[in-house]
Amino acid sequence: MSETVNDTKARFEAFIQESYPDADIAPGSVLSELLIKLSAVVHNETYTEIQALSQVDSVEAALASTTDTFSPAIDKFASNYLTVRSQGKKSAGKLKVYVARNRAYQVRANTTFTQPALNLNYLATVDYNVSPNPEDDELQLYTVGDQYFFILPVEAAEAGTQYQVSNKTKFTLATGSNIVEFVSAEAYGNFTSGLAIETDKELIARIKSGLSNKGLLSPISIESNLQARDLSVQSLSIVGAGDEEMKRSKENDFNISTLGMADVYVRTSRGPETVTVTVNATKTGTGTWELELTDEAPGFYRIVSIFPPNSNLVGSLEIAQEAYGYSTEGYDRTNTVKSAQEARFTRYQTCSVEFVYAESPLLNIGDQMEVEVTVSYQPNIGELQSIFVEDEERIACADYLVKAVVPCFVSLNLMIYKKYATDTIPTDKIKQDIFNYINTIPFGDDLHVSKIIDICHNYSVKRVDLPVTINGEILGTDGSVVSITNTDTLQIPTDLDKGISKNTTQFFIDYYKPDGDGINLIDNIGIEVL
């Protein structure tokens, strides 16, 4: 079993006290600061590696292991089935980097930014030149008022699911990295999901599913088929004949189910993801504009913000009205969709938006301008739907409608007590573990507070203050928001009129959330240490 560095330190202290009782290992002593702590850091890595390696010399041992293992023996076994361990995926995104002056800048490859509270690092992968008048591959330096910024693509320093941060998360330059006249940086949109290196258990499970049939017939075969593609399918749930959630097949005069229809709820991102699309908006009145979203971000959840391009406005333009509809035009083959609610979170969803913007200089009614619309969404919904309707793969007598999973956005606050005043509680690691736990709860499972407490106790805390209140907000297919809260077990309710049930809905959690004004970010996984 792995142990923390503090645990290793405690082991060393116990050993020294027993073997050399005259040695003083109090905090601040040379023995503690220059011997024990340094030895604990070095030894902990070796200890953890030995524990992991010693647990796995067979498939049975890998499956029985209580920790994540990465055994070369399992790699060799998997190769017999032409299966290779996934090395994971690095979360990627963009940073809005503010600088002090209107001039050219250079960002060297491996310039690293750090999120100090989460202790996560991201870096530029290539050299970039930034200029107010860019050429070719140079990045644009934007000027808005007395502020200067550029948008820099970055990726996480390592593969892993915990690196997915949200829009406006603050960053600083890491020690050793430098950008001349750097002022500040923040995430520009949510980052994409990352993936950890595949563990032995996950690899063995994939071998099993790899041996299965991959036709689009049963839930298992559909899952095998979709996960074999590079479309980031994390989990899926099929709602079909006989399931109470299946309403599409009952839309007839007799209200009885006609067979041949199924709804495929998919999750393609670990944490909440966003995408920014450029759309033409049309002026419809004084200070009033309209735009239409169709296939720019298929099945998106909601609009996060609307900005004129290259704007540094604090807070989105005011959205006066959103009207969701549907359209099956423009597709060679479509599914049976008869209402906006049925189309919600699918590729057939459309949205007409009216927003307020006092442009300068003034334009005429009917004039158009480009705006940047950021939406929260599940990636690849359109691509996944195409698989089910294309000639090569589709089940000819069936109508599979792909929907983004109904989201339940979760937030919580914890108060943790240290054993000793000199202890360091790694709140960044606790947040990452909570992030991974909640974002990987499978369909049908509940969110347990006891599991959150368990996560905290992996890090040698004295206690966690109870009760821990967990709040959830579910975005229904009718556009309404259902609030749930519990101090023990958070369960997805059943409200079929809103498309909500354990078979259609999953939990999401982000590190940060907008404050009441929607301008600044506050902790969504709040941890206070006493």
Partner: protein, 161 residues
């Protein structure tokens, strides 16, 4: 002020490695202390050990130890970034914040380990003076132990930290 009844008898006492050269319990007046290796190794105990522990805890930059980010204070970081523009009062202000953290931690440890000799337990620490000499900032610190011993010492901080 010198400490009376000094002994090199370490029996029944826990010992640490002595690296802060200059703290001499028998010396009258202030002693300048600097950390250094290379001299003949010796142990320390008693008030000498306490002064060493205090100094190490106070001047370790918080966050500089991997996996032990809470240990230390931010005193050196704040001093080094703005030293030339700081007044004695501002330095004292920063000292008080950092000192309060260390005293709290030491007293917590003393409460959990009550069998420590009284002259190895801290009661109070005070900054008596902060003076600049060339590129060096000298901090004049006084420590009082629970046994009533009083130790004054000078810590020189070079400009480049």
């Amino acid at each position: 002020m010198a400490i009376s009844n000094v002994s090199t008898d370490y029996s029944n006492r826990k010992r640490d490695i002595h690296i802060l050269q200059g703290v001499k319990a028998t010396q009258m007046g202030k002693a300048k202390i600097t950390p250094s290796f290379g001299k003949i190794s010796n142990y320390c105990a008693g008030v000498q050990k306490l002064v060493q522990r205090y100094t190490i805890s106070f001047f370790t930059i918080a966050g500089s130890q991997d996996h032990f980010a809470e240990f230390g204070t931010s005193f050196l970081q704040k001093i080094s970034s703005a030293r030339r523009n700081m007044t004695k009062e501002e330095i004292g202000h920063l000292f008080n914040f950092a000192n309060a953290k260390i005293i709290t931690e030491f007293k917590q440890y003393q409460a959990d380990n009550p069998d420590q000799p009284l002259d190895e337990q801290i009661a109070k620490a005070t900054l008596l003076n902060a003076s600049a000499l060339g590129d060096t900032l000298n901090l004049d610190i006084k420590i009082i132990t629970l046994a009533g011993d009083v130790v004054e010492f000078l810590l020189p901080l070079p400009e480049t930290l």
